[in-house]
């Protein structure tokens, strides 16, 4: 990926390939090589084989039996190659969410339309309290939280944006991929511009950085591979045929 102006930072294309195996799929991502600093977070889940996973130690939430586990958390800064000033800070997080038994039985995640509807209704339910207040770039019910498909051969992923709740000026892009009936991959790319507490001004406009944020996230998503088991592929195709 070509970075704008003098920005430098980790290239996803040069990242380490990391795979996680689930009951119905294998997920492969490119984990960027992040420079070491004392406050750097560079955590990749050591448990790579999550088939028949014991979820008791996962984070449980809600009343429907959902739980989640972090697969990858990384932080890094984008710098200016000339001044070496830090320009933006990123927290990249990949989380696997276990669907409820009811959702698993419904196979909602193996169909593009039902997967989309589920996400959209969830966003409407939980992010209605964050109005755009005249900001065209702010995700809301009116613009469907900028929901868009990430086209893939068998099942599409979905990309959306929403507020993270920290009073940030800009929303956080997120992506969702089905990993079979049981699990969903959730990715968030929290990108914020940095400002020194002296007379240094961040030389990059917010418009440029926000566009770069979306481009960099697209670049990260383009390196994600999900391979489903033959049984799951057969089930996806069967559901497709039934729909037609």
């Amino acid at each position: 990926m070509k970075f704008p102006d003098n920005l430098t930072g980790p290239q996803f294309a040069e990242g380490d390939l990391v795979s996680f195996i689930f009951d119905e799929s294998e997920l492969t991502v490119r984990a960027p090589k992040v420079p070491y600093n004392t406050n750097t977070i560079n955590e990749i889940c050591r448990e790579r084989d999550l088939r028949n996973a014991n979820t008791t130690s996962w984070e449980h939430f809600g009343t429907e039996g959902h739980c989640s586990k972090e697969l990858l958390v990384q932080t890094w800064n984008y710098e200016d190659s000339i001044s070496h000033d830090d320009i933006a800070h990123v927290v990249l997080k990949l989380v696997v969410v276990k669907n409820s038994d009811e959702e698993t039985a419904s196979c909602f995640s193996l169909n593009n339309l039902s997967f989309r509807n589920d996400l959209l209704s969830g966003l409407k339910e939980h992010h209605a309290m964050s109005p755009p207040k005249g900001r065209a770039y702010w995700p809301s019910e009116e613009n469907n939280y900028f929901l868009k498909a990430i086209p893939r051969d068998l099942l599409d992923g979905l990309q959306a944006q929403f507020a993270k709740g920290g009073g940030q000026k800009y929303p956080v892009p997120s992506a969702f991929f089905p990993l079979g009936r049981q699990y969903t991959l959730r990715i968030s790319f929290n990108f914020v511009s940095l400002h020194y507490y002296d007379d240094r001004v961040n030389p990059y406009s917010e418009e440029l950085l926000q566009q770069f944020k979306l481009d960099a996230f697209d670049d990260f998503l383009s390196h994600i591979r999900i391979e489903y088991t033959p049984e799951t592929i057969a089930l996806i195709q069967k559901l497709k045929e039934n729909q037609q």
Binding site: P35, Y36, N37, T38, N39, I41, E59, F61, G62, H66, S68, V73, T75, E79, S83, H84, D85, D86, H89, V91, K93, V95, V97, N99, L119, G122, L123, H126, H127, F162, A163, K164, G165, G166, G167, Q168, K169, S174, F176, T184, R186, S188, N190, V192, S193, L194, H195, Y196, Y197, D198, R200
Partner: protein, 388 residues
């Protein structure tokens, strides 16, 4: 009780004996020599780690100052018609030119210049002092400048749903029965929350987020200079402590969070009997903090002080070891049951940390690195290695 003091007060000086070469590549073999004030050792040691990406960037950028020494030179040169070609005349002319060159630099002719790289602002002059063969870059001061994302400091609560995780700045100030993590300085609330999860071993701790500016304002080596956001942060924590004074709250405090707490405690009258505190890598005057908490009858149970290889925290402990030991021994209430064992363990542990030969050696080194033959960065690097 006195605040930790840096080995020597900083002031701009041109006393050549106060300076040493910055690094092996800035001794003048290529480019101008770059020298730095020896008493900047502690500032540099605590804020620039040569083992990190950012630390290397800072060091390389300072080394690049060697280019400026030459370009900053003036064309102070006496030109006379070459009517007298004798060697003696040439020698006299050369001496005059040499003296003129030195004079023109020292009159400066050479105003203080500054540049910033990463978290460090460097103040330097280009001078040719007595004994300098060439114009030399003299670094007279460095100041640490942090940066942040704009995330507001204060109390956050975490909410997770199937589709998102939200870290929300909360207005719910009732902390009854909660475990609250006061973070060390962090760029974002999300990064601080990640640290909170690890430190509290809880998936959903309550976070009191301290942005980087708090670390800049509350450095343990200098007198606090509070900016607006840091004042607000201290005010919010003060109010939280006051509003929850009669409730049971468990506080886990990391790094500079301890300095924020220390400032907040000054404005909280009465006792905090139902509040328990644990500290990790407290970057503040620990002895004073313990005294304040002891006075407010706060619960300091078990191994309430911990350290996990944070250099700044260790040096602070080493510099105040006797005061901390005195607080642990005399000021805190008598322990009962197993707490007696952990209290004794804690005293031994902090006594050992305080007396840590390496940390003491580094504090001593800060006072005496001049004239050892090593360059400034060599001394910094070897000191970092010693503490690893």
């Amino acid at each position: 009780m006195t605040a930790p003091v840096r080995p020597q007060a900083k002031s701009v000086t041109h006393d050549v004996s106060e300076y040493l070469f910055f690094s092996p590549s800035t001794t003048g073999l290529s480019g101008s020599p770059v020298k730095i004030r020896a008493d900047l050792f502690m500032d540099f040691f605590c804020n620039v780690d040569p083992q990190t990406h950012d630390g290397q960037r800072v060091i390389r950028d300072i080394e690049s100052l060697k280019i400026f020494g030459k370009t900053a030179s003036h064309n102070a040169h006496v030109s006379v018609p070459a009517r007298n070609d004798s060697a003696a005349h040439k020698n006299r002319l050369n001496r005059i030119n040499q003296t003129l060159s030195v004079l023109s630099f020292n009159q400066s002719t050479s105003p203080e210049k500054t540049f910033a790289t990463k978290n460090v602002r460097v103040f330097y002059r280009v001078l040719q002092q007595e004994g300098d063969a060439f114009p030399t870059v003299y670094i007279s001061d460095i100041r640490v400048v942090q940066r942040g994302s704009g995330d507001i400091g204060g109390l956050y609560e975490y909410v997770t749903t199937k589709h998102s995780e939200e870290l929300t700045k909360t207005q719910n100030t009732n902390l009854d029965g909660k475990k609250v993590f006061i973070s060390g300085a962090s760029e974002t609330a999300e990064g601080a929350f990640y640290a909170a999860r690890i430190a509290t071993k809880s998936e959903t701790p309550t976070l009191f987020f301290c942005p980087q500016i708090a670390a800049q304002d509350l450095s343990i080596w200098s007198k606090p200079r509070l900016s607006g956001p840091t004042k607000e942060l201290i005010k919010e924590l003060t109010e939280l402590l006051q509003q929850n004074q009669k409730r049971s709250v468990h506080w886990l405090v990391e790094g500079v969070g301890a300095a924020v707490l220390s400032c907040a405690l000054e404005k909280v009258p009465g006792t905090l009997e139902k509040h328990s505190f644990k500290f990790v890598n407290a970057r503040t005057n620990v002895a004073k903090l313990l005294q304040d908490l002891g006075r407010r009858k706060a619960q300091l149970q078990g191994e309430f002080l911990d350290y996990s290889r944070d250099h700044t925290a260790l040096l602070s402990i080493a510099q105040n070891s006797s005061e901390i030991a005195a607080q642990l021994k005399h000021q805190l209430p008598n322990k009962t049951g197993y707490d007696r064992v952990s209290h004794r363990y804690l005293m031994d542990y902090f006594h050992a940390l305080g007396e840590n030969g390496n940390a003491k050696a580094i504090l001593t080194k800060a006072l005496s690195i001049k004239g050892k033959g090593a360059t400034f960065i060599e001394a910094i690097t070897s000191s970092h290695k010693v503490l690893r």
